[in-house]
């Protein structure tokens, strides 16, 4: 790997990155899935992580809100700083981390409860009971779902379509008022129309939130993201502004991948 990405360079000088990865290596047992990755996630921007299947995208994404803690054999070395604070230190409570850094999964996973209760769930376990109706409405509006569900808030979430369920899961994450939203292939189970809606939504969300998205879809990465990280076999091959990565890649593996010549 002759090109070592210099993360700080990519981001406008005056803005400190919200998440900073320094030499992050993640292993399952002894097998490394992510190796020596350093990069910076810019605030209120969309960063996409692309790369062939099994290259460690999901592993890397889960490291950002400590969801790997639930995989007993996973271990991490290196540093991840969230707004300057160490994410993996003794003093950091992973529960607090996940309140600030929300996650949307590949397959919509609403709770088997009503639409309202799904969105209200996060705030309610964290003791925000006051003005819960407003909060639910605000979150559903931000997730571009309000119009469709306003008159059936107490129907079961399973009565929604797949795309609506995914937007409900986004609303559920937004209700926690997180800073960062991690999305792992959020559209891979959805049809093109629902996908387009979620992409539009991401542009809206960017005004308030930082988004990190894993995607297999090159067009999607090119369309929605400001920064792109290309991973291969756990190593960060290239990281930079999406425009540059797709049109003037510095590394020919990147070029081969984004032009669809492999993977």
């Amino acid at each position: 790997m002759e090109y070592t990405p210099n993360a700080d360079q990519e981001i406008s000088e005056n803005e400190q990155p919200i998440l900073q990865l320094e030499d992050v290596t993640i292993r399952y047992g002894d097998v490394p899935a992510v190796q020596n990755v350093s990069l910076a996630i810019a605030r209120q921007q969309i960063t996409s992580i692309i790369g062939p299947s099994g290259c460690g995208k999901s592993t890397l994404l889960r490291a950002l809100n400590r969801m790997n803690d639930f995989i007993p054999e996973a271990n991490i070395t290196g540093r991840i700083l969230y707004m300057g604070a160490e994410l993996y230190s003794e003093e950091t409570d992973p529960v607090d981390v996940r309140r600030k850094i929300g996650m949307v999964f590949q397959k919509p996973n609403p709770f088997p409860k009503s639409i309202f209760s799904n969105v209200a769930w996060g705030p309610s376990i964290n003791g925000y009971r006051e003005g819960i109706e407003d909060r639910v409405e605000k979150s559903l509006r931000r997730a571009a779902l309000w119009e469709e569900v306003a008159d059936r808030l107490h129907d079961s979430a399973s009565s929604l379509s797949g795309g609506q369920q995914q937007r409900l899961c986004i609303a559920r994450a937004l209700a926690m008022e997180p800073e960062v939203i991690l999305m792992d292939e959020p559209c891979s189970a959805l049809d093109p129309v629902s996908t387009a809606r979620i992409e539009d939504l991401m542009f809206e969300l960017k005004k308030r939130y930082t988004i990190v998205i894993v995607t297999h879809n090159m067009q999607q990465a090119a369309r929605v993201s400001d920064y792109t990280a290309f991973l291969e076999s756990g190593k960060l091959v290239e990281f930079g502004e999406t425009d540059q990565v797709f049109t003037r890649p510095r590394h020919n593996r990147t070029e081969e991948y984004v032009t669809g010549r492999f993977g």
Binding site: V95, D96, R98, F105, N109, F111, W121, I125, S158, R172
Partner: protein
């Protein structure tokens, strides 16, 4: 082998139509096995019904179901079954009070908290508990639990409902734990992850997502455990006594429906007499109650079952 020629294909097909007598014998044998359990159940119901029917020619249904005195073997005779029902309920309530919460908590612990090593010890222990013959539980009640209770409450009678309740609860505990465990496990990992990703603690994920999502299984396991406790015989016969009594004091001696049936079956009550027929009436009532509980359990399971892909 050269295949593909028309004759070959034809003869192959003709061979298939031949009567396979072996298959036919196997099919009939299997059918007979299957019918055996149905026939047994039906004949039990028929015997119960006819014997109970003759009983009700002598004693009115109203007197039986509503009467508060059960002295069929003593003069003056009285056939009010309520004291037996009350005895059974007392045992069941006590057992439920212990077994349901502890069983659910065990399942939650095993499924959500226990490290694999603990799980690999507790699970087999539960299975052993479930396999202990119930008469052993009865002796355990008499020789261990009762003295223990009497050392705390000296006024406790030798035969008492509390002791029987406690061992019945130990008896049904493995069933509650194992059925609850199954239904908690059926809740997909993705739901748990979704909850954790919202900044929930293990306790919140368990109590506010996993248990509610598997509520139907949990309730069904509760109902099945209750119906097992209602039908439990050996331990209550040994430990709870033979005194039909309308009481809610667990430290007193009582008699359950099942224990009464044992008493009469083993006693010298002449077959064919009204006294003897009482056991069929009691058994029919017992059967109706447990059947209803099982039907409810299945309804609950069907009605509230969450469908996960």
């Amino acid at each position: 082998m050269t295949n593909g020629s028309p004759e070959n294909t034809a003869s192959l097909l003709v061979g298939k139509v031949r009567f396979h007598w072996k298959e036919e014998v196997i099919r009939i044998a299997l059918f007979l096995c299957a019918i055996l359990s149905v026939a047994t159940t039906l004949s039990i119901v028929v015997v119960l019904a006819t014997e109970a029917f003759t009983f009700f020619e002598n004693v009115s249904l109203g007197e039986f179901l509503l009467g508060g005195r059960w002295t069929p073997l003593l003069v003056p005779r009285s056939f009010g079954v309520l004291p037996l029902v009350c005895g059974t309920l007392l045992i069941v309530a006590g057992a439920a009070l212990i077994a349901l919460p502890v069983g659910l908590a065990t399942a939650v612990y095993l499924g959500e908290y226990a490290p694999d090593r603990v799980r690999s010890i507790v699970k087999p222990v539960l299975e052993v508990l479930a396999g202990i013959p119930t008469v052993v539980y009865g002796y355990f009640a008499l020789t261990f639990v009762t003295p223990l209770i009497r050392s705390i409450f000296p006024s406790t009678q030798i035969f008492n409902a509390a002791s029987a309740s406690i061992v019945v609860s130990i008896m049904v505990l493995p069933m509650v734990a194992s059925l609850c465990d199954d239904s908690l496990r059926a809740v997909p990992l993705s739901l748990r992850q979704g909850a954790y990703a919202l900044g929930a603690t293990s306790f919140e994920v368990t109590t506010r997502v996993v248990v509610p999502a598997s509520l139907s299984g949990v309730v069904a396991s509760f109902v099945l455990a209750l119906s097992r406790a209602i039908g439990e015989t050996m331990a209550v016969t040994l430990a709870a006594g033979a005194t039909p009594r309308m009481t809610i004091n667990p430290l007193e001696s009582i008699q359950t429906m099942t224990a009464y049936i044992v008493q009469v079956s083993l006693g010298d009550t002449p077959a064919g007499s009204v006294e003897y027929q009482t056991i069929f009436a009691v058994a029919a009532l017992l059967f109706t109650i447990t059947l209803m509980m099982n039907v409810i359990a299945h309804r609950v399971l069907r009605r509230f079952r969450e469908v996960y892909e």
